[in-house]
Assembly symmetry: C2
Homo-oligomer: 249 residues x 2
């Protein structure tokens, strides 16, 4: 499994991803799920991947090839980020189609992959999309300023409580790290290293802020300890149920 998320802030875009892949309990490994494509002062794009690893690797590799071979369409020729989202969707559907058969040994095989694509192309605002296995996509909104792929549920409540478009990027990155860390704690198929990146609006630079946090990174240890302590005192601060029980008696 995987857990990746991206947040559309007034100040720019935050991306965060785990690095664990598994194909059965005895086939666990680490792969980066954060891919960057950038031409300074012209465009900066980040692609996060979840789902079938063969499909997502093939898509990333085709994006690179299309750049090297100066294909009819590639990331450098796109005018809008949404055109790149269409393109990623097309590559993904093509790749999945190679392994889908009505009968035969692959019958019922699912090579689905899901992507988050975000970034900015000169002359336009930053854009953020989630691309479904079917190739179509949705964007974030002010009312729902984040997108998630993979094992999304464990880490959602904290995003719902904290993230607003006006949240400062550093707070949003911390929130993303807590969201991924909570998920790692609840689900063994999501694991470190964590990668976290902030793209500042209109910078057109590959990344304003980037960090990679390995399992025993001191920051991750500090966050866990601080968060655990705070959650415990949050509990101590909650109103007790005594008043509720008293009214029933």
């Amino acid at each position: 499994m995987t857990y990746c998320l991206a947040i559309a802030l007034e100040d720019g875009l935050v991306f965060c991803s785990d690095s664990r892949t598994n194909a059965g309990a005895d086939r666990v490994s680490s792969y980066s799920k954060m891919h960057r494509f950038s031409v300074p002062y012209d465009r900066s794009l980040v692609l996060l991947t979840a789902g079938n690893l063969a499909t997502s690797q093939a898509v990333v590799s085709q994006i690179q090839r299309d750049l090297e071979q100066d294909a009819e369409f590639n990331i450098l020729k796109a005018s809008y980020v949404s055109d790149v989202a269409d393109y990623v969707g097309r590559l993904s559907v093509e790749e999945q189609g190679k392994y889908q058969e009505q009968g035969g040994p692959n019958a019922g095989f699912n090579a689905a992959a899901t992507f988050i694509l975000g970034g900015q192309i000169k002359g336009h605002s930053p854009e953020l999309y989630m691309i479904y296995p079917e190739g179509n996509h949705i964007t974030a909104s002010d009312l729902h300023p984040y997108l998630q792929i993979g094992e999304t549920k464990y880490g959602k409540p904290i995003l719902d409580r904290i993230i607003r478009p006006e949240t400062p990027f550093e707070t949003a990155m911390r929130c993303a790290i807590v969201s991924v860390d909570s998920t790692m704690r609840s689900n063994a198929t999501v694991g470190p290293p964590l990668e976290c990146l902030f793209y500042r609006k209109d910078s057109l630079q590959p990344n304003e802020r980037y960090c990679k946090l390995e399992e025993h990174h001191p920051y991750l240890a500090e966050v866990r300890e601080s968060w655990d302590d705070s959650i415990r005192s949050a509990f101590d601060n909650l109103p007790t149920l005594d008043a509720v029980f008293a009214e029933d008696e």
Copy 2:
């Protein structure tokens, strides 16, 4: 959907359930998912239900009938809570079987239901089980002292952080309420009223503490406000990422 959980503490058992049912977005209603069966000073049992409402209602109704008709086996005749868990599993599988056909209009129809059963029978320790749609069951353990059914993921991280067998019951109930409240916030198919019950070990009374919290219950409002505030200050207290970025530069 549904979200119910139960916690096995050294002091007894805590149960908590939401009340929303839905069969499509235009068939949303409220049903209690907490059912109590009790003979003071002899036995006290609580059954929580998730999944197909027709199945879970039929199971609860058959339990009642078997009591009224003094059937060969009923809850009053059980020597162990695990025997009751077997019985609930049997009733559930029988009920689901009525609507499973190889072909015909019901082909592919899934009437699965999942249950949590907990309580105590005189002369034995309290027991807690989760009963799968297949009719078999698992119990909680010291290392994993809680069980969940329904929409379980959103509310799991907080349980993982707080719940230990030695947690006081009032803290565990508050934690259960926060867990269900976070789930309600993230998933529209889980909704109030919340029911929360504590069975104190060896009391053999139907409930030591019980509360039902409607949507606008002042306690729920207070918990939400306090929790939101605390989570926000927990964020303010987290170590900032500045040190991490500094080392990369």
